[in-house]
Assembly symmetry: C2
Amino acid sequence: MFSKACEYAIRSALLVASHSLKGERVSIRDIAEESDSPMAFTAKIMQQLAKGGILYSVQGKHGGFEMSKEQMQTTRLSRIVSLIDGDKVFTGCGLGLKACNALKPCPLHNQFAVVRNELRQMLENTTVLDLTLDLNNGQTFLKR
Amino acid sequence: MFSKACEYAIRSALLVASHSLKGERVSIRDIAEESDSPMAFTAKIMQQLAKGGILYSVQGKHGGFEMSKEQMQTTRLSRIVSLIDGDKVFTGCGLGLKACNALKPCPLHNQFAVVRNELRQMLENTTVLDLTLDLNNGQTFLKR
DNA sequence: CTCTAACAAGACAAATTTGTCCTGTTTGAA
DNA sequence: TTCAAACAGGACAAATTTGTCTTGTTAGAG
Ligand code: FES
Ligand code: FES
């Protein structure tokens, strides 16, 4: 469904948000540990998230990553997904034709477009803050 | 969403069904041409489909692939997808945890499980015959 | 019987994704 | 001022997916 990079991106973003809600800044080392992701690879992804304005990076000693309350509220998962994976998952043809085109549809188009749309809406309606609150309540988990 | 191999598998299966409905057997060469897929790669996938009982292969001169009406009726897309891609797409965790587990869910579980389930149901409710009829009516297309 | 068209199967190659490592820069603290 | 902790960024490496090639087997047609 999502690439590994995208999975790490979402997990990392939620972890940064979780710490930021507690007033903590968090390092790559901790992100990798707490979200069970490969450290160096995750570091690259964090750069993309920072460049994309999903979160802030702070250099130097005691540096790390943090997210403002506003970023948590306004960042929808769809934004992270399209930043990392592009929007093929939202607009691509299920059978791999060059583009999805309702005027000359592939055999699966009618059925597929419905599900693809629900996925898109789900991701657009879900903010980082929404998911982070559950996480901090101990109702959900980033590693087992 | 699906792997390239899986996209080719579905396109090829529909194409074979389409020809079989017209009483024709179809060669790898024609499949590649008419569904716009790489020939040698598609050949490998056809072997998987034949071994999986999705369709028949006939060797020798004037050989090729064909599908019985029964195969078209009983083969659901979910079968092709799980044969080629496995069932990670039906059961896997959206954030990449080892397994989806509702008792210790990831932050996206509640939302994701709904969409994943609709995808599964859509693929389970769609047979090869369903899609092939539209294709033969000229309402849908396998290449543009 | 021989030739040819077609699938089977394994080895190989290219491309993409995933992951690592090293060097440089930033910044706080001793 | 110097040191250490942390991010930035590029080069590199491993793994996976995608795609090709070659050889063998099958079976119909002449
Ligand atoms: S054309 Fe294939 S999903 Fe729209
Ligand atoms: S635990 Fe992640 S989707 Fe179910």
